[in-house]
Every structure is written in structure tokens, then in C-alpha cells.
Symmetry: C2
Subunit: 365 residues, 2 copies
């Protein structure tokens, strides 16, 4: 088979370190499993602002639009806190999501048996937790117009953003969530704030209609966003798949991630619509941020980024066996007590660096 | 002193039961502490829809505008799920908040020593937790225009809501939060999503400016809303007072409430601006909902509503001693193992009904 074309955007902070381990695993896949990758690299976020004055260049966008998949590390840091809103590091990430039309963001929150004690929640509440949040990623208040700050005179200003969703935006992300639920526990919970927001009422109505039309075999429930924020704390294992909008998804997926107590373990996938040949544009990135405080010290946990690479194998290339290999190796290594600093609190037998963790996982593979 | 005028809006579900205990405590205050109350009562929510076709009548609004304080039970229930959006039970509550201009919603999340094990979080994470969330309550996406659902033809609809804040809306709620922080741990964390939303950027700028102008003695920090959703799970005791907007406050205060594991314990206050005589319009209500599944069975926990009454004594009438009496009695009763069903899991020596809990608290007073 022809080599798969990847664009690697390592970004800021610990991004380059954790992505270094991904490149080793990609090379291993080429030599041991005959799954070859052509890897191109470019800048995104703060490093791109420094080099090019913008958080992502048009040339990089062109590359992102043509490769088979994009791998992203992390963006941002205090160094760029002062830059103009329009060129802040996050704007690079938002442009990638929007221009690539990556409307479905998949965020699993999974508790590994070896790490169940890392959670701030009681063991019995989180042990065996396995939920998937599907977050709408190209709509809602993140991109709605009008937006901005207006000077009203007399020292008064007004800040505006617009929450907006259409039928087709809701249906396409809900369809992804229904499909994924079918492959898992067959239960989907749709989350909005329909008792206050008309956009949430439309969300509930459209999800309900799609369910009746095409997915009535999936068990569908609805929940208000504030209640969902509570239920994730009270009893997270009640959920299988959750589908929600961009802003609620931002908060609820971070809350769900923290339930596991090990952010350095959590991958994500952002997917577009399939084209005529069934191929989706896709971007894979860890849930954690750029962690500038530990950047360059070999302390970062590369597992979230490696698991993002595994998600890529599964979702973009249908290489389930190879994804299983990586995920299995991660479990093995954790069971043996090998830990980076962020997860050292839970049954560490051996504290290792970013690179040593990569080596341990490669050996387990 | 003249009797204080109260409007009691017991509402739906368990509202009338828990409010019954408040009326007993109010009567006790009259006979034992010479703090007299004239109590008027009216309908709000589903019961008002049934009786009057709207979730709150103009006549009730007139009363709410003239009394010294409003006490609310809870509104809503599945019975009214099908009513039109404009007259749903929640619209009554939202009209009260908006017309009374109750812009500052105070939601304490407090863990009682006797109930620390009720939490789904580990004891050491929540023991001694005492945070106060100040939520903006009359602005943002709850009330912003334009809003609604538009038919675009071809089976497409669009739902819109508007997130909007002005300088003065931000400053007045931040001022309340700064003042409250001064009376507590002197630390305020302001929460928004300024890396994505311009309204959040305005929020941060205005809070920062007010801090410099008038509250530089208070320790101010800023946090993104998604990170706050995480930090509340990871280490909630890092917070003293949190100030945030209407929608973020809705979710974060519910999340914080659930950290305590005992929703039936949590009161809230919603305050307006002081008038020339220093008096604020105010509404007090429990954080929990109307719990239609247990309504009318004497199972409901009246403590949240009794503590809301205590907040009223403190904030509306400066009766700190009387508020302390109620709060102390609640602690006593919990220490003695007296529990309603919702908190029975944690050291219950005696399981009691709504009325018996009220009696126990009255006796402890
Ligand atoms: C960095 C930021 C713009 C982003 C978001 O808000 O979507 C991040 O929090 C995330 O969840 O990926
Ligand atoms: C009932 C509902 C309208 C309300 C809100 O969203 O504000 C409730 O959730 C609350 O927090 O008081």
C-alpha cells in the first residue's frame, strides 16, 4: 500500500517532546507492520506566531487540507498572553478545525485499572469508567456571528457572541454519535440547555427526529447541561456516549477527563464528513495542554499523544489491529508500574522520562 | 420593629413540603426572638400554569416587587414538559430574576463534617470544603437578543441565542463578589472563556480594571471555564469565591454543589442592587429542584430551604445572630445522626421525615 501522508504540528510547550515519541512509533509501524507514513512537519500556535506572525499560515493550511491525517501536539503558553485576539495561539487550532470542517470531536474518558487511584473520586465511582463524549466542534458560540466588543461611550462597552446551530449541523454530529454508540454500549445521552435556550430546544428536537428516522435501535436520553455537570460527578458510569454542542462539550469533556485523574493519558480525534471515497479529514491531539512549566525537561507523558496516534490508525486508516497493539502496550507498561511524573502517585515501580516511556511502549509492542 | 414582609412562592413538587418547615421556623422567630414576619403566598411555576395559564402572574410579580424578600421552593416537573416554551415553568423563575433585577446569585458549596462521606469524591479532597460561587443572573445568553428558531425552508431550521455583557453588568456582579471575598478568605477567581469569546475577554478586562480601582487588597485570579470545570474535580479547596457569568455559573455551581454529595443541604440567594436606603431586592431558594418523584411523601429534606431562610436573615435583614441559630441547629442535628432519606447513607442514627427534621431543628434552636 502507498505510504500514508501525515502532517505533524507539534506546536508549543511539551508538544515537540511528546510528538517525538509518536515519530518513533510511526517508524516502527513502517518497519515491523509494513504500514508506512510520509511525515511532513509545520508550525502551529505560539511558535508560528514567533516565526510567521500568525498562529497558522495559509501554506500550512494547504498542507493540512491535502494530507491523510493531521497530528497536533499542543498550542499556547504565557509567552503569547499579550498578543492580539485575532492572532492568539488558539486561533490557529480554531482555524484548523473550521477550515477542515472537523465537526465531530471524539473525547474518550477511560480509567485504566492500574491508574484508578489517580482520580480524586472514590475508586468505586470511577473504576472501569469508559465514556465517550462527542462534541460538536465547528459551530455554536465558538464561530457564531455577530461577535466582538463595541464601545458604547461613557466608559461602557458591550461584548457579544452568538450561539447558533442549524438542523444539518446538529444532525451530522448526532449521526456520528449514534453510529459510535452502536459500536459500544448502544446508549446515547444528548445534552443541551433547552429549558433556557432556543438553540438547545432545536438541538433536542433534531436529535429526537434523527433518532426516530434512523437510529431507533439506539437507546436515547436527554439531559440538561447543568444536570450533566452534576451527574458526571455523582455517577459517571451511568453514561456510554454523550453528544453535545461546542461550548458544553468543552467544559463537560474537560470535567470528564479530570474524573480519570490522569489527563496525560487522554487522546482525542476530530473528524470531518466522509468524501465520495469514504475518507474523512481528521486531526488527532491529546486532551492535555502545552504545559509550558515542564516543557523541554523530558518529564511529559507521551501516552495521550501516542493514543491519539492509535485513534488515527483506527478512525482514519481502519488499522484496528495496529491500534490495538499500541493500546495493549500502554496497558502492559502501566501494569508493570512504569510511570511518568504526572501519574507517579499511583503504584509507580519505576519513574521514567518521556523518551523512556516511549521506549517501554515500543518494547511492549 | 415592624414585621418584615415576605412573599412565599412554594412552587411545585416538594416545594410546598419544604416550605412548610420554613413557616414553622419563621413563626418561632416571631415568638422567641421578636423577629416578626407577615407572610403572603402565591403560585409560581407549574401550579401557576395550571391555575392561571402562565408560570407567574402580573399580580404575583407586583407582590414580589414590593415585599422585603421572596422565598421560593422549586418549580417544574414532567407534567409541564409539553407546554409552550414561552410559558414553561422555568419562565416564571426567569421573570422573577429579570424583573426584580436579581443580578447576583450566591451559591455556597459547603461540606458539613458529618456528611463528608456523602461525596463521590475522596474524603480528603472535600473535607472542610467551603466555596462560594457568585453567578451573574440577569444577563448573558439567558436573556440576550436576538433569540429564537427560524425556519430556513428545505427542512432546515436555525436556533439562535445571544451571549451579551456590558461593562456595568460585569462590574456590579464583580463588586458583590469582591465584597464577599473580603468577608471570607479574601480570594476571588473570575471565570470566563476569553480565549474563544469576546464577551469573555470583556469580562476579564472589566474585572481586572475594577480590581485595580477598588479592590486591590483582594487576591484576584482568572481561570478559563473549561479549566475551572476540571479544577473543581481535581482540587476544589483551592477556591474561595468564584465569580462567573450566567451560563458558566449555572453549570459550575451545580458541579460544585454535587461535590458535597448532599444537594438537599444547599441554599442560595439572589440579590439586586441596594436602593437609597441600602435595601436590596432579594429571592432565596434551595439549589435542588422540585423532585416530583418524591413529592407529597414527607421524604424531602427541608434543610436547603431552611438554610435559604437563614441566608435571608443574614443578607436581607442583617440578622446574623438569628441566621447563626438556624445554621448551628442544622449542624447539631446532623452531628446527632438525624437524617432525611437523601443523606441517610452517611452515619444515619435516625431516619426522619420532612416534618420530623423540621421539629428536630426547631428543638435544637
Ligand atoms: C484551546 C481552546 C481554544 C480549546 C477549546 O476551547 O476548544 C481547548 O480548550 C479544547 O478543548 O480543545
Ligand atoms: C430552572 C433553570 C431555568 C435554572 C437556570 O438555568 O438558571 C436552574 O438550573 C438554576 O440553576 O437555577
Amino acid at each position: 500500500a502507498a505510504n500514508k501522508k501525515l502532517l505533524v504540528l507539534a506546536g508549543d510547550g511539551i508538544g515537540p517532546e511528546v510528538m517525538g515519541e509518536v515519530k518513533r512509533v510511526a517508524a516502527w509501524m513502517g518497519s515491523q507492520r509494513a504500514v508506512g507514513f510520509d511525515i511532513d512537519e509545520a508550525l502551529v500556535g505560539g511558535c508560528s506566531i514567533d516565526a510567521n506572525g500568525v498562529p497558522v499560515t495559509d501554506a500550512t493550511m494547504d498542507k493540512a487540507m491535502t494530507v491523510d491525517a493531521v497530528l497536533l501536539g499542543a498550542v499556547g503558553g504565557p509567552k503569547w498572553d499579550g498578543v492580539d485576539f485575532s492572532i492568539r495561539p488558539e486561533a490557529g487550532l480554531l482555524r484548523l478545525r473550521k477550515d477542515m470542517e472537523l465537526f465531530a470531536n471524539l473525547r474518550p474518558a477511560l480509567v485504566y485499572p492500574a491508574l484508578a487511584d489517580a482520580s480524586s473520586l472514590k475508586r468505586e465511582i470511577v473504576e472501569g469508567l469508559d465514556i465517550l463524549i462527542v462534541r460538536e466542534l465547528t459551530g455554536g458560540v465558538y464561530f457564531g456571528e455577530p461577535r466582538g466588543i463595541t464601545d458604547l461611550g461613557n466608559g461602557e462597552r458591550r461584548g457579544i457572541n452568538t450561539q447558533v446551530y442549524t438542523t444539518s449541523e446538529i444532525r451530522r454530529v448526532a449521526a456520528v454519535a449514534f453510529e459510535l454508540a452502536r459500536k459500544r454500549g448502544n446508549r446515547l445521552c444528548s445534552v443541551e440547555k433547552m429549558n433556557v435556550m432556543e438553540s438547545g430546544r432545536l438541538w433536542r428536537e433534531e436529535v429526537t427526529r434523527l433518532h426516530q428516522e434512523q437510529y431507533s435501535d439506539v437507546q436515547l436520553s436527554h439531559m440538561l447541561a447543568d444536570n450533566c455537570a452534576m451527574q458526571l460527578v455523582r455517577n459517571p458510569k451511568q453514561f456510554d456516549v454523550i453528544v453535545t454542542d461546542n461550548l458544553f462539550g468543552d467544559m463537560l469533556s474537560d470535567e470528564a477527563a479530570m474524573l480519570t485523574g490522569s489527563l496525560g493519558m487522554l487522546p482525542s480525534a476530530s473528524l470531518g464528513a466522509p468524501d465520495a471515497a469514504g475518507r474523512r479529514k481528521a486531526l488527532y491531539e491529546p486532551v492535555h495542554g502545552s504545559a509550558p512549566d515542564i516543557a523541554g525537561q523530558g518529564k511529559a507523558n507521551p501516552i495521550a499523544t501516542l493514543l491519539s496516534f492509535a485513534m488515527m490508525l483506527r478512525y482514519s486508516f481502519d488499522l484496528g489491529t495496529e491500534a490495538d497493539l499500541i493500546e495493549g502496550a500502554v496497558s502492559d507498561v502501566l501494569d508493570r508500574g512504569i510511570r511518568t511524573a504526572d501519574i507517579a502517585g499511583t503504584g509507580a515501580a519505576q519513574l521514567v522520562s518521556t523518551g523512556d516511556m516511549g521506549t517501554a511502549i515500543l518494547e511492549a509492542m
